[in-house]
Amino acid sequence: MLGVGAYRTRNRPARSEVLPVPIGQMTWTLTDHQGRLVRPSDWAGRPVMVFFGFTWCPDVCPTTLSDISLWLEELGADADRLIVALISVDPERDTPDVLAGYVSNFDPRIIGLTGPADEVAQAAADFRATYRRVDKEGGDYTMDHTAGVFLFHPDGRFASIIDFHEDRRFAVPKIRRTLS
């Protein structure tokens, strides 16, 4: 058991070494839930909040989107310039139409992004996020994915991550620090 732990420590870089690249250096092109192409350059000068998920996800994703909706309500108009995006790690099922139906349940400032598999992979690489398809019995599948919420300053620099199990009271101050 100790041996396994040591192996992991040696081979997996600490999280601080794998920060997301600045928004301006990202190279993905995705489609939003209204069918419009979105590129990182479209977000220039705006604070950004991104999380990865998928609409077939019954627990983590609606919970995170509910939390984000509450934070946005608490921030009110201060968050109107904040880009808030859910990037689907399941583009096979999450078409723009599917995402539109999904995000309509939450704060209207949240957009859904999807695209071809290689563009989603590029986005995950740029954000240093990971995801993996897990096949289940009967041909169904689910996705493992990075659960944190990524925050970026208006100049595109990575700001911080709101971890899934972090005390949610710290979230709003973290977001606020990216807004000015």
């Binding site: 997996r12 627990d59 659960a147």
Partner: protein
Amino acid sequence: MKHFLLATTLIFSAPAAMACETVTIGDLTVEHAWSKATIGAGRPGVFYVEIKNSGTTDDALVGITTPAAGMPMLHETVVQDGIASMPHAMSVPVPAGQSVQLAPGGYHGMLMELTTALKEGDSFPVTLSFEKSGEVTVNVDVLSLRAEGPDCADAGQ
């Protein structure tokens, strides 16, 4: 038990009241059973509940069944190194003298193969099977996809 459930259903016919009902079996108290609305029947639904064991014997939730879904299963959301995964849980321990919550971000029932989309305001029964205490059926309130839990006066948050 059926009569008891029927009576409770009639009394608490107002929406969002059934999640606040309490059902007991042996030393176990089961309450705050709720679910979230789904978009269509293709996506899995979710089942959350609170179980208190006031006895001196450990028990465990070993399975759930419901007419609302063809394949209901117990799962646990695990976040390790920032990655969320959702492994199948063979059972959920309900230790003596303790409370266990199936709640967002942790243990939950995953309702696959829904017979119909779950709509806010609907309710459906779920039968919980315990290793020692046997089976008990609770009524589950469907709340909005945005809900974080039922609004009960005594909700143990």
